[in-house]
Symmetry: C2
Subunit: 156 residues, 2 copies
DNA sequence: TATTGTTATACTCTATAACTATA
DNA sequence: TATAGTTATAGAGTATAACAATA
């Protein structure tokens, strides 16, 4: 218990206290390490992790509307509206009004969006392979399961 | 493979594609669920997760300087300067110039900061207990280990 | 010259509130 | 009246660049 957690660099004798024993803390640190790694190749990859999720969802669910996306990711519709506007501005998605109910927009990837998604997917999967390099057989499934259960604990 | 990952809500038949199989994706979702949960009681708790880390570090390492903190958390010194300014403005920390080398500041909690940290710690540990409720014996140690190894894979 | 720290500026992500168009 | 979507505004969190003080 209370094992200090060295983190590289020559900061001898810094005491992390109980922080390393908190799952919340380690999830934050890990998320930040993963994000930093992707950011280093953001030019090569072209999209942020959040944008990658959105593009993937539209690839699997063409015609999806933004209120559904907002509910799935628990974002305010205004927040999502801005993200989608940016993606549309870059020509990666196309937003049309739905025929049946003209309040809804129908979202889908453009050809440029599909191409960008393929590029980003290659980069993301490279990163996942880098993680596999430090995991033993079965551990990927294990952590995916643990993370989903923990997130589920707060689904409320 | 390609198991769609239902996420509550009545969005029947939304296909998450490969996303649920990516560790990066699940870490992001979990971090976001944990953050949302803490945010709901931010008034009660008083500090953000990032501020909680900073206060904890200063509790365990009184007199720490900001460049060391910046290196540990891989933040730019300007970024950290702003966070510390906000904490100082709320009277939670006190920053003094070091005696030996007057370029350095010596950071420490004020009595109000110690009190706030105790309050936040109670809240954070409640959250950790909520996670334990969905974990079997040994699984907390398991996920802490897995997360640290994955973060370490990108330490570069 | 090099290092610590601050300030100015800018960009992303997020939310709330007020609005329009549609139902 | 209710819902989908947009815009305006504001607050964190992050970075880069330019600067001051100290070594």
């Amino acid at each position: 218990m209370r094992k200090p957690q060295a983190k590289g660099g020559g900061e001898a004798a810094v005491d992390f206290g109980r922080l390393p024993g908190y799952i919340g803390y380690q999830v934050r640190q890990t998320q930040s390490a993963i994000f930093r790694d992707i950011s280093r190749s953001i030019g090569e990859c072209g999209v942020t992790p959040g944008e990658f999720s959105l593009l993937s969802m539209l690839a699997s669910n063409p015609g999806l509307n933004s209120i559904t996306l907002a509910r799935l990711y628990r974002l305010d519709k205004a927040t999502l509206s801005l993200s989608l506007k940016r993606l549309a501005g870059r020509g990666l998605i196309q937003t049309d009004r739905s025929e049946e109910d003209r309040r809804y927009s129908s979202l889908r990837l453009t050809p440029a969006g599909r191409k960008q998604l393929r590029r980003a997917t290659r980069r993301i999967e490279m990163q996942e392979r880098a993680m596999d390099a430090v995991l033993k057989p079965g551990e990927r499934e294990q952590i995916l399961d643990l993370l989903q259960r923990i997130a589920g604990a707060f689904d409320r």
